[in-house]
Amino acid sequence: MHKTYKNSYKLYFAIIVFVVYLIIVPLAFRNNNYLLNVIITSSILSIISLGVWLVFAIGRINIGQGAFALIGGYTSAILLTKTGISFWLALPLSGILAGLIGYLIGRPILRLKGVYFDMLTLCMTQFATLAMLNMTKLTSGARGIINIPLPKALKIAGITVIPQFTPGNYIPFYYLTALILIFTFFALVRLNNSRVGRVFSSLRQHEGLTASIGIDVVKYRLLAYTICCFLGGLGGSLFVVYTQSIFPTTFKVADSVNFMLYCFFGGLEYLFGPILGSFLLTISFEYLRVIQKYQEAIYAVLLILMMLFLPNGLLSIRIGQLHDKTKLFISKNKKKVEM
């Protein structure tokens, strides 16, 4: 009885989110470009962060997602400006190329243990920025690539499936990013609930033991990492076409860190975590914009407070726990006074 109740509760929640996300918001705010912009950006960042989540799911920290977003972005930018390829082809190609590079580089680096892997991924982001800066023939270096054309209409057998994107019109991008996010999310839900997902969970708990029961650790690690890089490339491509420009600094170390942050904020144990994190943090960062000067500092303080009081993310709050936590906090102080 309890289980079916929980499942229908989740279903209702999903339906509500669906309706709000896909129907209410775009309808109600179709002229509020600012809000649409924030949601589109959050959606894209969610897609990229979901990739990072997947690597967390196998027990690793990936601070290199910015590199793959950059790779995907530049791939699309170059394909769209230098060749006449349709965006609808360039998008998956960017993802696939990013995934491929992830696969090739993942093989050697996933062997590294703990901290070395983390630090190396951090350096990878920096490396990507520098690489894009220096490969001037391909990427125009620091000048970046601008005036990237908007996606054209997609026609299948003469029927216009997707209309032409027009400048200044945010709604098509809204639906594009929303649908891709929803699709990605459900794809990952399926993956997570499958045997592969359970292997990931096992890897997170103890890689050695997982190997000892006969699982090809290398294969599954690589799978998670490749999908992560694919999502990074996909998101990067979307972002670049949305903003119609790309520079070597479009995605840098701070962005890689942010993707990690979104996952943590929402809760690493929950697939919805990175999505919640991206949306909440992007929106709140916008609100903080009014206090421009102190924005970063407040952000940092909030981050630290969250790590201290909610180390397992927002979604780990259980209603009863809130009461316990405040009690715990008070009694801890009392103890100190007594001693």
Partner: protein, 286 residues
Amino acid sequence: MSQIIINGIMLGMSYSLIALGLTLVFGIMNIVNFAHGQMYMLGGFIIYYVYAQWGLNFFVALLFAALLLGVIGLVFEKAFFRRFLRESRRPESSMLLAIGTAKLLESVALILFGEKHRGVTPFITGVVSFMGAYIPKIKLFIFIMSFILILGLLIFIKKTSFGLALLAIVQDKEVTKLMGVDTNRLSMIGFAIGAALAGISGGLLTLSFPIYAGMGSDISIKSFIMIMIGGAGVVPGAIVGGFILGMLESFGYGFIPGSATYLLIFLLVILLLIFKPLGIMGKPGY
């Protein structure tokens, strides 16, 4: 050519000092102190204000920088990390807390100091000629100071019982506890020492390089590269890593245009880690 080699060695000595702070913290607490670069930057700013603006003696300023950063390290460990490590479900999250502290220091520095690059005029001017290379006397001063500090640190670790206890924690925390050592208190002091070292390096190097509030992440990345090359958590690893990076940088800037240098360095690091996944002197178990 000899200029490049000499430059590399001088750079290496200072870099080793920076790496030592980081590797010490990592060895003791198993946390990568993401704020290491920011602490370095703060040390530099303290020297800038106390020495260059208010005119106090340089060594006094340096001591002040060390003390202030040490206090910051103490506070971070006690107020943030210790609470966090008790309650978090996943060990990886400690990295995020470290990142939070780094962001905090950087944003506060930006508010207090602004984005301007600052420089300090060296108190020893002039150049020395050695083996066909020219060494600015101030860099020689930095070199000697770094050497003395590293030596001092090594003596402290190997000879004093306090230092030995720290080394013991690095080797095996559980057994050290069994020996009756208060690892909590020592971890706190270890972190403070690491922070102080970062501050001292920053203060020292300000004599020769400009500082700005945003330099934290660059320094942090360099420090990470050093301990990846040399091996995390082991003292000789930091020194080896520091010198190798110093030499690589010197040769790189000597022969290759600007930003491509670090591109090459990253590639070399990745190659090195493929063959030696723990760095040159790293010990397994981290």
